[in-house]
């Protein structure tokens, strides 16, 4: 519902006889979408300037006269360039429009190579889709096609298949308006035009990968993804990039339990339309061979992780040098295909050891909550430990910080814009949920005390529960020193580290695609992320580990935990429905500042 200048008039327009409400600054493509009509287009993009050059979105428009009659304009206009006003009549299926659409597609296909069978874009290609819906089945071309040389090294991360380009110039406008680095340009004139870079200045800005998403055809491709998987095999899940505190909304594309690529999804509450290359290409660690694939339980008799542990005469669980569990019977040379689940043993041991340590001295027990944890996981652990004894200490894990916030678009001289003019920011804080974890800590601990602060100088903490989850090595010498000779060391992490090597219990946990939960970004926006892949090996989602550790009934469900959090912690009252929607929920109003 909208008030226009004429009081109490709801602004509406008609799209092919369907009436829709219109907003204050919408073009015909946006309004048509509301009516369920997709006007085909290439060059228009919500985040970029309007050039109306592809001519694919031509429609007929008219106005409704005061007496109710409709006066059509009579000529074709580009929908992307047509601001929709109250009473506008939009027609997308007239004979003129249909002819124009078919001709535009025929023109685009004239010099387009028949690369579908080897082109990455197949299955998500605007040219394929529109030709199928609006184009002609037969080609009338009897002339030689223009051949162009591919530019595989137009950027470190991107390759340009020049002959597939439809000259929509989205990529050029992106490097001018969003990244500001302006590497991509149009060279030559007329039908022999190409996208190119200045010699020696390839497209290597930190947002370069976005041009691959923007390219409506398979001209610009990601070298990381090139030829790896046909897109129709990929299943997508909505998620949030854990790379920094910007918290870009993303889609995780996976097939057969392997992540193939990450893509940004538009979220006006979060980052907008894009994501940075660090986040986009930084998912290989999920499949890294060095990941912890199984939980480890060290017995007290020896420090060696290969010691056997006998528990009440039950099946012996022994762990070889790779930390893999195998059964006793296998040692007799008979291969035993029965899989023994090490988790119940390990979790039971963890629970016992935690209780014993707390019983001895609760204030010497500390849990370090990493900013890589989700809100739900941090809550479960904090609530459990504080529930055992209020004197247990909760600390904030190390915050990985690299450089400074990197704002875009850059100016011609390369300098960053002021924060109120920035269109995209790669933040220096390389973790997704510092905000959320601190909100949990403030509730349960009264304040968010960083681990470094608590261990500066000497500390009397002797029993530790460390949660990691970082994508890179994070245990510095300082950290290792502060945790020397603990009476109990439990590490919940995804990669081995100097801490896990000496830990009593290692809980092999999950990367972000392997679990569900929510992160709160720098601005206080809480977004949900979904499971896309099963945890590697025998690793487990942190939520499941914590449910079993804390002996909760049923399976971990993020929405259920969110409801509980909303009742316990006032700052999370907007978690009440459990559902955070597609765009997330603001926990802090924009007017409040985050210190």
């Amino acid at each position: 519902m909208l008030q226009t200048k004429e009081a109490a008039v709801i602004a509406t327009a008609k799209v092919n006889d369907i009436e829709v409400d219109i907003g204050p600054r919408e073009n015909a493509i946006q309004v048509a979408r509301k009516a369920g009509v997709e006007i085909p287009h290439y060059c228009w993009h919500e985040a970029l300037s309007v050039v109306a050059s592809c001519r694919m979105c031509l429609i007929e428009v008219g106005e409704t006269k005061p007496d109710g009659t409709i006066a059509m304009g009579g000529k074709l206009v580009p929908a992307c360039q047509t601001p929709v006003k109250h009473g506008m009549v939009i027609k997308t299926e007239t004979a003129k429009v249909v002819t124009a659409q078919a001709m535009t597609l025929e023109f685009l296909l004239l010099n387009h190579p028949l690369d579908c069978s080897i082109c990455d874009q197949a299955g998500e290609c605007y040219l394929q889709d529109y030709t199928f819906k609006f184009g002609k089945a037969k080609s009338r071309l009897n002339e030689p096609k223009i051949q162009r040389i591919d530019k595989y090294h137009i950027g470190e991360q991107i390759a340009l298949f020049t002959d597939r380009c439809v000259m929509c110039t989205r990529c050029v406008r992106f490097t001018r308006e969003i990244s500001g680095t302006a590497e991509l340009q149009v060279v030559a004139r007329g039908s022999v035009e190409e996208i190119d870079v200045f010699p020696g200045m390839p497209c290597n800005n930190k947002l370069a990968g976005n041009v691959v998403d923007l390219c409506p055809v398979g001209a610009l491709c990601s070298k990381d993804f090139l030829y790896k998987k046909r897109v129709w095999w990929l299943k997508s899940q909505k998620s949030v990039c854990p790379g920094c505190s910007t918290g870009c909304s993303i889609e995780v594309d996976q097939n057969d339990n392997q992540v193939y690529r990450l893509r940004p999804r538009a979220n006006p509450l979060a980052q907008g339309h894009f994501m940075c290359d660090e986040g986009r290409f930084g998912f290989r660690y999920i499949q890294d061979a060095r990941r912890l694939r199984t939980p480890i339980l060290k017995t007290s008799s020896t420090q060696s992780p290969t010691a056997e542990s006998k528990m009440n005469g039950q099946q012996v669980v022994s762990l070889n040098g790779n930390g893999q569990a195998h059964s006793e019977t296998a040692k007799n040379g008979v291969s035993d295909l029965a899989v023994i689940d090490p988790w119940p043993t390990v979790i039971a041991a963890a629970r016992d050891k935690i209780r014993s340590a707390i019983k001895i001295n609760p204030s010497d027990f500390a849990a370090v909550l990493s900013p890589m944890m989700s809100v739900e996981e941090a809550y479960l652990l904090a609530a459990y430990l504080k529930g055992l004894d209020a004197r247990v200490r909760l600390l904030l894990g190390p915050i990985p910080t690299f450089g400074v916030d990197d704002r875009y678009p850059k100016s011609a001289s390369g300098s960053a814009p002021p924060s109120d003019k920035a269109k995209f920011t790669i933040r220096a804080e390389k973790c997704p949920n510092r905000m959320g974890v601190e909100m949990i800590l403030r509730h349960f601990q009264g304040a968010s005390v960083p681990f470094e602060q608590a261990t500066a100088g000497s500390t009397d903490i002797k029993a530790w529960y460390f949660v990691g989850g970082y994508s890179q090595g994070w245990v510095t010498e300082k950290i290792a020193k502060a945790v020397s000779h603990p009476t109990l060391l439990i590490v919940q992490d995804i990669f081995p580290s100097p801490l896990s090597m000496h830990a009593d219990i290692v809980l092999a946990s999950a990367a972000f695609t392997e679990r569900e939960g929510s992160y709160v970004n720098y601005a206080g926006l809480a977004q949900a992320f979904q499971v896309a892949t099963r945890p590697i090996g025998d690793a487990r989602a942190d939520g499941r580990i914590l449910y079993e550790l804390t002996e909760r009934r049923g399976l971990f469900n993020a929405a259920v935990v969110r409801k509980e959090i909303s009742e316990v912690i006032p700052a999370f009252r907007r978690f009440a429905s459990g559902d955070l929607g597609l765009n997330g929920v603001r926990l802090i109003d924009p007017k409040e500042t985050y210190s």
Binding site: V50, V51, A52, S53, C54, R55, M56, L58, G74, K75, L76, V77, P78, Q81, K96, T99, A100, M103, T104, F107, L108, L110, N111, R140, L141, N142, E143, P144, I146, V166, M167, V186, A188, R189, G190, S191, V192, E193
Partner: protein
């Protein structure tokens, strides 16, 4: 029609000083009474001058024929900040050379009109965009501008008045699309000459995001004479508006007609608007050469299409060529094609030009011009098919003749020769295809 159409006796106005010694110099210009119009204009108000130009019925000579006074009135009147006047000296329409002659032989006539027009539109700076190929024009113009500065006719407080104006000469880089007003503006700003989408129109947001008006060289020369001799004088020349057609703006004033091609005396001739093609060819250009007959005549630059041999009595004013299916008067550059010339070759030459000059921004023009050129190449290589003719017609229909298909009018110009050639010369085209004839060099340089 008035006596003035007895054009063999027409006293040239725009070319009146042609042939005088040092006609391009300020001294010679002033000795002939030059800059009296400017002096007069500086005593008038801006509104008075705009109204005068409106009353005169002056229509732009750059090709579109838009009423000049009306164009000037689109500029905002009460804003702060610069307003720009751009002079379109890109003159790239094939067959056109009138602006070149004006600049080389009598630049002050044009410059005086520019200062008057800038004063009338409150422009603070004028940019004279000159195509790069006009080197002699550039040097002549620069000299003339320098003379003006020295004489207080440019710069601060022109002739002691409150009005100040700077003129900058800006050379292009050999692209036809810089003749399109927003392509010119983009080029002036140092960018790729890709025409802008409209709205916003230049009068609202033009060069450097400021209100801008773009005018043709010959149009500005007319302004000088209108101020000197009045609107009534201007309207006494040419073709009055049709009283039964309220949309007809008339075709007033003298016009420089370029005549070239297969004639005995190609050149520039000044006549009242409305002379017929036949009279122009037979009485002013010495007739078709080599004793041949005209097969086709281009009325105003190749963008306008072709008139056939039986359409030569069409008056060459703003309305005439349209009545025989051409796009319009254009630049009044008449090109004569004799009956020994193949229309396939002519059409190919036209298509090749537009394919080469298309800026490539929008899909129909970028691909359509190149496609039609390739079809004609194949035809000229002896491998044409009868269906190619209808295909060419369909291509021309979707690249330009359907309003709204493209961002600028180059596509319309590219489409019209194809349309006219097929409408008026189809039998010849079909015969060419059927004969399997091969041209000596089917693919010429610059073609894609």
């Amino acid at each position: 029609m008035t006596d003035n159409i007895n054009s063999t006796k027409f006293e040239p106005v725009l070319l009146g000083r042609l042939g005088r010694p040092n006609s391009a110099s300020l001294a010679s210009y002033q000795a002939d009474g030059g800059y009296s119009a400017l002096r007069k204009a500086l005593t008038m108000t801006q509104t008075q001058i705009v109204d005068l130009v409106k009353d005169s019925g002056l229509r732009g000579r750059g090709g579109a024929g838009f009423p000049t006074g009306l164009k000037w009135s689109f500029l905002p009147q009460n804003i702060s900040g610069p307003i720009y006047m751009c002079i379109n000296g890109d003159e790239s329409e094939p067959g056109t050379f009138n602006n070149r002659i004006l600049i080389e032989e009598d630049p002050h006539q044009v410059l005086e009109g520019i200062v008057i027009g800038s004063y009338a539109t409150r422009a603070t700076t004028a940019y004279f965009y000159l195509r790069y190929e006009y080197g002699r024009c550039y040097r002549t113009l620069q000299k003339a501008v320098d003379e003006m500065y020295a004489a207080g006719l440019l710069g601060k407080n022109i002739l002691g008045s409150d009005y100040s104006l700077d003129i900058h000469l800006h050379r292009g880089a050999c692209a036809y699309i810089c003749g399109e007003e927003t392509g010119l503006i983009e080029s002036l700003e140092g960018k790729r000459a890709w025409p802008r989408i409209k709205p916003p129109f230049p009068a609202v947001e033009g060069a450097f995001r400021r209100p801008t008006v773009v005018n043709n060289v010959e149009t500005m020369a007319c302004v000088t004479h209108i101020v000197n001799r009045g609107a009534e004088w201007f309207k006494s020349i040419g073709v009055p508006k049709d009283p039964s057609n309220p949309r007809d703006a008339g075709s007033y004033g003298p016009k420089l007609y370029c005549i070239s091609g297969h004639v005995n005396k190609p050149g520039l001739v000044e006549l009242p608007l409305g002379v017929t093609a036949r009279e122009l060819i037979d009485q002013h250009a010495g007739g078709v050469w080599k004793g041949r007959k005209a097969k086709a005549v281009v009325p105003g630059g190749i963008s306008m299409g072709f008139m056939s041999a039986d359409e030569l009595d069409t008056p060459l004013d703003f309305a005439g060529p349209g009545r025989v299916g051409c796009l319009g008067l254009g630049t009044a550059a008449v090109v004569v094609i004799d009956d020994h010339t193949s229309m396939v070759d002519v059409l190919y030459n036209c298509c090749r030009f537009f394919a080469h000059e298309s800026c490539g921004q929008c899909t129909p023009c970028r691909e359509g011009t190149a496609w039609s050129t390739k079809i004609l190449e194949r035809m000229r290589a002896g491998r044409g098919k009868i269906g190619d003719i209808d295909l060419l017609l369909e291509i021309s229909g979707s690249i330009g003749t359907m309003p709204g298909t493209t961002i600028c009018g180059l596509a319309d110009g590219a489409a019209w020769p194809i349309k006219n050639a097929i409408q008026k010369f189809r039998p010849e085209l079909e015969e060419y295809i059927r004969s399997g004839r091969k041209a000596e060099a089917p693919q010429l340089a610059g073609a894609h």
